[in-house]
């Protein structure tokens, strides 16, 4: 998905899966690479350890096992349940958060690996009752049905617009390509993405 910073001529994840064929992809082909620690295996865990995270501008220390994902840390330990867990394997985008300006699948990122980073979730977008411009645009375009995929789409759209304030449809398609919606809201999501204004580069 949008983790790729090179916009030109890249094959999207989706295209890749399609060409290889539905049933012949070995599970794990696109699994995130294991974090490499220069000092060798760290002597952390298996029990809870303090993990310092900055979520939506607020620093907090969570006592969690080193194996806890960013998504679980945010949902279950920081109690911010806006972003959703759907596949837990980096294949649907529902858990999309923005970490240091780039979208990540938080289900496939360890919390302990993003200490010191700026983590943004859907819970932090609106300012009280004032919706973020992307949220406004989704409202205006009726860009959701059941809304379960929506937090991920909103975050991916925010990242898109911070990267390309006036995106082309091709850019929007590419950046939102890693997000899946079963209710079939795509057309309206694009309408929202292309019409949202007032997003500053993050």
């Amino acid at each position: 998905m949008a983790q790729n910073d090179d916009p030109a001529g890249t094959v999207s994840r989706r295209d890749f899966i399609k060409t290889v064929g539905a049933t012949s992809v070995a599970a794990g082909v696109l699994a995130p690479a294991a974090p490499v620690t220069a000092q060798g295996p760290a002597a952390l865990g298996p029990g809870p350890v303090p993990v310092n995270l900055t979520i939506n501008g607020r620093a907090r220390t969570l006592q969690i096992e080193p194996r806890v994902t960013l998504l679980d840390a945010v949902r279950d330990h920081a109690n911010l349940t806006g972003n959703k867990r759907v596949c837990d394997r980096g294949t649907c985008g529902a858990c999309t958060m923005i970490v240091d300006g780039r979208t990540v699948y938080s289900c496939s990122t360890l919390a302990i690996d993003v200490q010191g980073s700026r983590i943004r979730t859907v819970d932090g977008l609106a300012n009280g009752d004032d919706l973020h411009p992307v949220q406004e645009a989704f409202c205006a375009a009726d860009g959701m049905m059941c809304g379960f995929c929506t937090p991920g789409f909103v975050m991916a759209t925010v990242a898109l617009l911070e990267k390309y304030p006036k995106p082309t449809i091709a850019q929007a398609r590419r950046e939102l390509d890693g997000n899946v919606c079963r209710c079939g809201t795509f057309n309206r999501v694009f309408e929202a993405a292309l019409s949202a204004g007032g997003v500053n580069r993050g």
């Binding site: 989706r14 899966i17 399609k18 064929g21 539905a22 049933t23 992809v25 599970a27 082909v29 696109l30 096992e65 194996r67 109690n79 911010l80 349940t81 806006g82 972003n83 959703k84 867990r85 759907v86 596949c87 837990d88 394997r89 294949t91 649907c92 529902a94 979730t121 859907v122 819970d123 977008l125 609106a126 919706l131 949220q135 989704f138 409202c139 205006a140 009726d142 959701m144 049905m145 059941c146 809304g147 379960f148 995929c149 929506t150 937090p151 909103v154 398609r173 939102l176 390509d177 899946v180 919606c181 079963r182 209710c183 079939g184 809201t185 795509f186 057309n187 309206r188 999501v189 694009f190």
Partner: protein, 782 residues
Amino acid sequence: MPADTRDRNARVPRNEDARLLTGRARFVDDVRLPDMLHVAFLRSDYAHARLRGVDASAARRRPGVAAVYTAADLGDYSKPAPLLVPPPPIPGLVFHACTHLPLATDKVRHVGEPIAMVVAESRYVAEDALADIVVEAEPLEAVGDLEAALAPGAPRVHDHLESNAAAHVVQRKGDYASARTRADLVIARRLLYDRGAAAAIENRAIVAQWDAPAEELTVWDTTQAPIPIRNGLARMLGLLESQVRVVAPFVGGGFGPKIMMFYPEELLLPWAAMRLGRPLKWTEDRQENFHATTQERGQVHDAEMALTRDGRILGVRDRFLFDTGAYDPYGLTIPINTQCTLLGPYDIQHYDSEFTAVFTNRTLVSPVRGAGRQHGVFVSERLLDIAARELGLDRVEIRKRNLLGPDRFPHDHRILFQDSAPLVYDSGDYLPALEQAADMIGYDAFRRDEQPRARAAGRHVGVGIACYVEGTGIGPYEGARVTVEPGGTVRVATGVGTQGQGHYTVFAQIVAGVLDVEVTAVQVVTGDTREFQWGTGTFASRGAVVAGSACHAAALAVRDKALAVASRLLDMPADRLELAAGRVRVRGSSDAGVALGELAAEANPLRGAVRPGTEPGLEATAYFGPDRGSTASGVHAMIVEVDPETAMVDITRYVVVHDCGRMINPTIVEGQIHGGVAHGIGNAFFEQLVYDDQGQLLNASFMDYLLPTATDVPPIETAHRETPSPFNPVGLKGVGEAGCIPTGALFAQAVEDALHGFGVEITEIPLSPSRLFDLLQRGSRP
């Protein structure tokens, strides 16, 4: 703001959007309770095996584990789940009810069947403990292929039955055999239609909390049917219905499987929460969803259509097999839908339909959006296409010659529908819809000019057009309560759950229309048994129709009450008063009148005498139960371009003309249609659950099972027609499933047309690029 948000038919923005967009909407997986424990299930790796023993002792010793349950620990709670939908009273019908146990005892019958339940301090620990459980199992040969399953000597899914036949049903009208003797042409084909996963983006989830001092059980459940879940749980757990509250808050897509009940997890979490005295939570992971949430699957049809030389259908005969999976708690809804929907908008006088439902060692089958209707449409539409080709008739023309005319309603098909009522079409007007769709897609010009031009340039383009009718909005009933709060807010409570259909807005619009208030002033609560405790659930595209009609009736009663209170207050006969902009005033006058909220307060005095016969407040409850469902219909058309080298299909245009009776909110209706079409496109070209001969599902992840995404779904051009249903006061018909019903048949037709000259005849769905490539290689036309 749109011109008039009080208008029932306006495109008002949805009331629920802001909550969904900010992450404040609460889904079951978002429920967090103090002291909550987490559950994980040990599931069968085998499709078919005899269980010799389950040893959970090591798991029980693991730190952080609170309890482990196997079937042996359930005592007399280990009973087969209730049969949800008993079959309709069709003469001669055979049905073997074999429902699942909460946890497997002697045998496992599909991959993913639960064997043990672990309760622990965190999901991480619960999953660790699953690995500690030792299961001794003796694998058995798996039953998969439907014909092989019925062969003598085949391994049996249920040992006590004589074969794997779960049901056998025959429905007939007229006399097909003699009609056939008069035919000029008989088209006989074997047609295959496979379905896939419903794949709601939200996995199933359950939270159960037993409040011991209050003796109250609360269950949050991602169900489409909270009230029946409440009633069933109370019965099975020995509680009063009033002691159980079931909440289906926001639900992230249903598409059918969330109406299934009782899932083993639904039986077990409440039971264990009562035992342990702590709240429990289980959220399905995506892999579990592929194995343990119901699916819809294959049917094999051997069908024939008898026609006259000029393309009129004399009759249809169909014999089909239906894969019901390992158990059949949902009865025969799907194959009966197939049987009934095959007749479509056509005048078919002689019909002979017979099916056998077959047990296999695969995940349970229950309705998924469309619920077998697309299988029936596929059969009749494909046979018509082939007949048109054989007779040298145009595909639109052959359909026109067979449509039921507007003078034929109500039309009794003389067979029984899934709701046990006779299959009667309430209203419809099919020909103009077909003409409109042909017109919108530019059918004639495409065939006459564009297609020959493209073909001359070496491009393979094709057009398809397909019709369907859809039985929707069936009974038994739903209810709604409408209350005007003293502050002026109107609250609506109804029993149906909502899974993205915009019910919060649709019901609000219906009530706002009657009371003449802003839609945003109407607050809707759905799916909480404490708010409303009578009703059945969201299925068969019935939410807006049945519950919507109840909302309408309750709002009318509140309106009458408001007028009566105002009449006393203003000392003016009620028939001289009217509701306008949230107030009651003298008819036609411009004076301010009295606000509804004030009238509500007036109707609930703290002191003084109340006249006999008056009820306090401005509140009313009403129920609506249609005698039978209303029949929606439509025509879809598409243009495709196929690359014969890669067998990739590009859908360049997609047109939908549909009739769902009176429309409440066109934006929501269109959204439902878009979603259905996307689902149908997935079903036609991308989605297939691939099982091997050991009953293992080979593509149980979104990496391997492709849902259509933005690039696969074209913009959809929609036109609405309105033939109001006479069966409900608002004239509504359902729309939730319509989009996906004709898509497979349409896709096959358009692709076949594009590949004109390759000798390809498409008799199966889904068609993956690789399957289409195979067909191209060998030319498949008989």
